[in-house]
């Protein structure tokens, strides 16, 4: 009698196991959700102005003592330190004791006119400055004009500031190879 009960229990258990297995095979379908965080970043234009001497050293930040007629070594170039190419322009601003001077008053620069073109007071580099590239010198020497620097300049501080501006060359066509025709030059 006990054996028959055991057999019945075993049969029921087996049928249950089979039904469970078949149920898993037909009903276990899933859904799931996943999230992706996507990122857009914008680029930028960055450069460094290098001011060097003939000896390959950096031009001293505190300046140099001069007398009329001196020719000072000061080589100015610009390096592209970003990942994008750009057009470039520079402007020299002259001053004495925080007063702006006109260019021909005290300084005379040997501008590299082969690579830099004057237009509306700015010298435009006549090409594209690719990433990691340094431009040819804008100028390499500054002459203190003896006929202009008289005794009234004694003990005064004369300044020569190089301003530079760049605009991307990607998606920015120019006319006739003139980089000053590029769009997006910042307002002065």
């Amino acid at each position: 009698m006990l054996g028959k009960v055991k057999i019945k229990i075993a049969v029921v258990a087996i049928i249950s196991a089979l039904v469970t297995l078949m149920g898993q095979a037909t009903l276990a379908y899933y859904s799931t959700v996943g999230k992706a965080t996507n990122v857009v970043t914008s680029g930028s234009i960055q450069f460094i102005i290098h001011e060097m001497t003939d000896q390959g050293t950096e031009f001293p930040e505190e300046g140099v003592y001069i007398v009329p007629g001196d020719v000072v070594s000061k080589k100015v170039s610009i390096e592209n330190i970003c990942e994008h190419p750009f057009y470039l322009r520079v402007k020299m601003v002259y001053g004495i004791e925080s007063t702006e001077l006109s260019s021909d008053e005290c300084f005379k620069l040997n501008i590299n006119e082969q690579d830099w073109v004057l237009h509306d007071g700015w010298y435009y580099y006549n090409g594209i400055v690719e990433p990691g590239i340094t431009t040819p010198d804008v100028f390499s020497h500054v002459e203190i004009v003896g006929s202009k620097v008289d005794n009234s300049y004694l003990g005064k501080t004369l300044t020569l500031t190089v301003k530079a501006q760049a605009v991307q060359s990607e998606n920015n066509p120019i006319s006739d190879g003139n980089t000053y025709t590029a769009s997006g030059w910042p307002a002065e």
Binding site: G3, I7, T41, S42, H84
Partner: protein, 223 residues
Amino acid sequence: MKRFIALLIAFVLLVPSCITAFAADGKVSYSGNAGSFVFEPGTEHSLTDLFPDFKGVMPGDSLTQKITVNNYADNKVKVKIFIRSLGAHEESVDFLSQLRLRVQKSDDNDMAYMFDASANETAQLTDWVCLGTLYSGGKVNLDVTLDVPVELDNEYQNKIGYLDWEFMIEEYPVEPSDPKPPQTGDSSHIETWFVIMICSLSMIILLLWRKKDKENKNNAEKH
């Protein structure tokens, strides 16, 4: 001449690696059984970033990012894959609102974009949109195009914009009327063999019980 050939070989070897480096595709993979999605390639900004080609964008850029959605589930199921946009993170809204984003399936040439709006919006992807039903090994290719206006101002240099997308799958059994899925190499039908094994074991146990029962009865009759 030898040097030229060597240079040529070096060039041929280098060019494909350069192309790979500059054209990384996004990839969404589903492996089945409610496993999580895998998003590739990821970037330094987000491990689930599908936009490796949208980095350092500049005014005037129009860039297209290819994204492949793959179903690697086994061939017993087919999956419906859906996509929706959750929009831009709060701090990214200003930057991304300047950009235009378009999404379409690569195989559709009718220019019917499933998304065409500012990159910060959810627009047509606010609700789930079905990308299709994929069998094992199937995939859907998406083209995501980002347009950066040439007038984008200097204040948007070096900006980072985050936007979230969600993918959802629903698994369904493959019906007899469905196209035959490709063979994946696993045709052993392990469930069938498992059921046969259970049945065999059950039969053995039953036979043993009956034999033991019979022996007990015989012993009882002798006594």
